[in-house]
Symmetry: C2
Subunit: 456 residues, 2 copies
């Protein structure tokens, strides 16, 4: 007999995963390698070591090792906010009147407000281990910058965060959290870097972009002795660290004999779905199980649903390596929307290859429909979700409502990757009915895709 | 043998308290009754029922019933965010280099951001049960207004929140959370009430006060059919509901055989310390144990440490009942500080009587020392604490540092009542070194105390 399922399932400390899972090891066709944009050849470890820590470069390039030990120091830090609960959303089920069973893994219960901390602490640990002085990064919505500042504070490393200028100005409170954790935070473009000064000279009134902030952070990392650059999504190493979400979810489900039918995560660069779904995708790759897995993306930046699978730059500035991925073009400028964490033109190479292989499906959602789901969820479950995570909520609610029509008792599990406590300007627009959607035209996407780099 | 103590202790659902504990039942000398300010006589149930729900009036007046069943509907809601963890603050211990064992009960892990939800959901439940249409309240810092809006959304009641105008303007995001949960929120003083219009006419530029907001909320409750007023602190009923914090703490400590020496909570109106410490005070009253219990209050509003134990009005407007309590005078206007939730001239009558009996001690802390403790805590334990709660952190750190000097391994348990995610303007001031302290002079306090009402 199964035990009664509690509203919130917490793993015991002793049940916590001690290794990260590398889904690449179970892929017959591996994700395509990153290419050096100058030579068009796969990036070698020695080319990456000037930018990233050595241990992280190894993780980035390793397509074969199935499990990586989580260092004890990282597991110690995880204890502060992990295990995160797997919640049986009985209040939402009731509000929807659905026979479906809905569960969500809640990754927002930490001060950074999202799952980003899982990889930040790992990346900073390896930087510390390598004897570095500090790390640099960019941040848009702010979750990643907050996470990295917390991790650097913990390990005693310098942290320099380039924050997209419009976010820096619109989110003074997010900025203040980062500063409270001791990081140096600079609005980008800035006059602290060559690339920043160049952009400022060419576009004096610009409010910045992620592409520009990445360029500045990378410049500082490669030109300062003892510094490296760290990134919060897209990369293989990030998905590896984020597998902790999926492994905990899997353990919690097994503990109570719950078999999921549908798994859902939102997708921007892929850190969230890629981590949450990894062990389930692994089961599918090994032929052990079959799940319906859904990536939920914004209609304003629809890499999976309207992009192509091709080599492209990871940044707008075209200084980063080329990745083979679903992309709507590195020159595509998504319209301003409130899910800043999902506003990225490309996608994790791992997820891209798995999507290409047909292992999961993707759906694009408009902003107002997403906030409508967010408020329904907040009223029922008492948590104010992040705009990004609310894409997954929208998909979960739609699936649950389908079950209501058909009478099926499917089990839906989604990842609630963060809270919306710093996104209240967006909720204000929604509450006041002034929120708009904006969907790129086919012409706009074709225009951006016409500028893809030529490879081979 | 004791089990190894995990970093976070969670009770199982089956271990959750099913009753609230009424510390008054164990008091030989009971707290003094509320008085009708017109007659000077103890308030009768029938006089209170126009303002409060009937069931809550019973709880307010009941000095003898030791345990009250927590209604099933309330326990269901508690499941959403309770049990809250009791955390073994090993990272803070290490940062301080103290032999003391430090634990904190973390009440901030819910969308309202504090312990206020524990009483809000109970109060709204009884309003619903009585068939009321809605409830009114005031809010200063915003936690209580958020909690009440969440509770009203859950039970489908109207909620009208009068928010002190300066907070309304300074905390647009806090306001937006309240609005997202469906409450009607009005900056006070407003032209929606007689008392509001009167104040606006007399003081056209005023940015409001808690006293004024209370007056408006009470006026709306008593002049509208089907409405009642609800209050988030001070009252006996509130301390009853908040005993859930102490009961869970006690159960978690017992589960691992941990014996506390020192218990600490911050004090504004008393809901936090009064709930957290209740079962421990009960043990002391019954002669079963002895603890050092500390109430931590702001030096800018020092009711316990510099006030008198006397009858006073609960509000600045002098329309509310008289309570016998530690007070620095209802006409005392504390200087603006960032712990809005502690800026109340008086104190819970229950805590006042227990303090008078010598069952616990109180300490007053200056704002900058409090934020210094807050940042130390955030860096060590990864949680950004509320300014209010940081008073308790200050006291806990001071006690732990004393242990470092003496080498004693005392066990310190404090209540971390909330998070500072909506208090970042305060952190900004602290980070930039522009935060100031302000301590009332003896003359200012004497002046306010000279206006205490004459009773007997």
């Amino acid at each position: 007999m199964e035990e009664k399922i509690p509203y919130k399932i917490y793993l015991e400390e002793s049940e916590m995963p001690k290794q990260w899972y590398n889904v690449r090891a179970d892929m017959k066709v591996k994700p395509a390698p990153l290419l050096n944009p100058g030579t068009g050849q796969p990036l070698k470890a020695e080319e990456m070591c000037g930018i990233f820590c050595e241990e992280l470069v190894k993780q980035e390039l390793d397509n074969d090792t199935k499990f990586f030990d989580i260092p004890e120091e990282v597991r110690n830090f995880y204890k502060m906010y992990r295990p995160s609960p797997l919640v049986h959303a009985t209040f939402l089920e009731k509000a929807l009147g659905t026979p479906a069973k809905i569960y969500y893994k809640f990754e927002g219960n930490n001060t950074s407000g999202s799952h980003k901390l899982n990889s930040a602490i790992a990346q900073v640990y390896y930087a510390k281990k390598q004897g570095l002085k500090g790390v640099t990064t960019e941040t848009g919505a702010g979750q990643w910058g907050t996470a990295l500042s917390m991790a650097c504070q913990y390990f005693g490393l310098d942290c320099k965060v380039y924050m997209v200028k419009c976010s820096y100005e619109q989110k003074p409170f997010r900025r203040e959290v980062i500063r409270t954790f001791g990081a140096d935070i600079v609005p980008s473009p800035s006059d602290t870097t060559e690339v920043g000064r160049k952009i400022l000279a060419e576009h004096p009134g610009t409010t910045g972009s992620l592409g520009c902030a990445i360029s500045e952070a990378v410049e500082v990392a490669v030109t300062n002795e003892g510094y490296r650059y760290e990134l919060g999504s897209v990369l293989n190493q990030v998905l590896l660290h984020q597998s902790i979400i999926g492994l905990e979810t899997q353990a919690a489900l097994k503990k109570y004999g719950i078999k999921p039918d549908i798994l859902i995560g939102c997708t921007g660069g892929g850190s969230n779905l890629g981590g949450f779904a990894a062990p389930f995708l692994g089961e599918m790759l090994r032929g052990e199980a079959n799940y319906k897995i859904i990536g939920a993306e914004p209609a304003s930046c629809p890499s999976f649903t309207r992009g192509v699978y091709a080599y492209d730059f990871c940044d707008t500035g075209m200084i980063c390596p080329l990745a083979k991925m679903y992309t709507i073009g590195s020159q595509f400028i998504p319209s301003a929307n409130h899910a800043g964490g999902l506003r990225f033109h490309g996608m994790s190479p791992i997820l891209s290859e798995l999507y290409h292989q047909g292992l999961f499906e993707a759906r694009a959602y408009e902003q107002t429909a997403v906030f409508d789901a967010a408020v329904t969820f907040a009223h029922a479950e008492g948590i104010l979700p992040a705009p990004e995570s609310s894409h997954a909520i929208r998909a979960a609610i739609d699936e649950a409502l389908k079950c209501k029509e058909t009478g099926e008792e499917k089990t839906i599990v989604f990842n609630l990757s963060g809270t919306g406590n710093f996104d209240l300007y967006a909720y204000k627009q929604f509450n006041e009915g002034t929120m708009t959607d904006s969907i790129p035209t086919d012409e706009e996407i074709q225009e951006a895709l016409s500028k893809l780099p030529k490879v081979e």
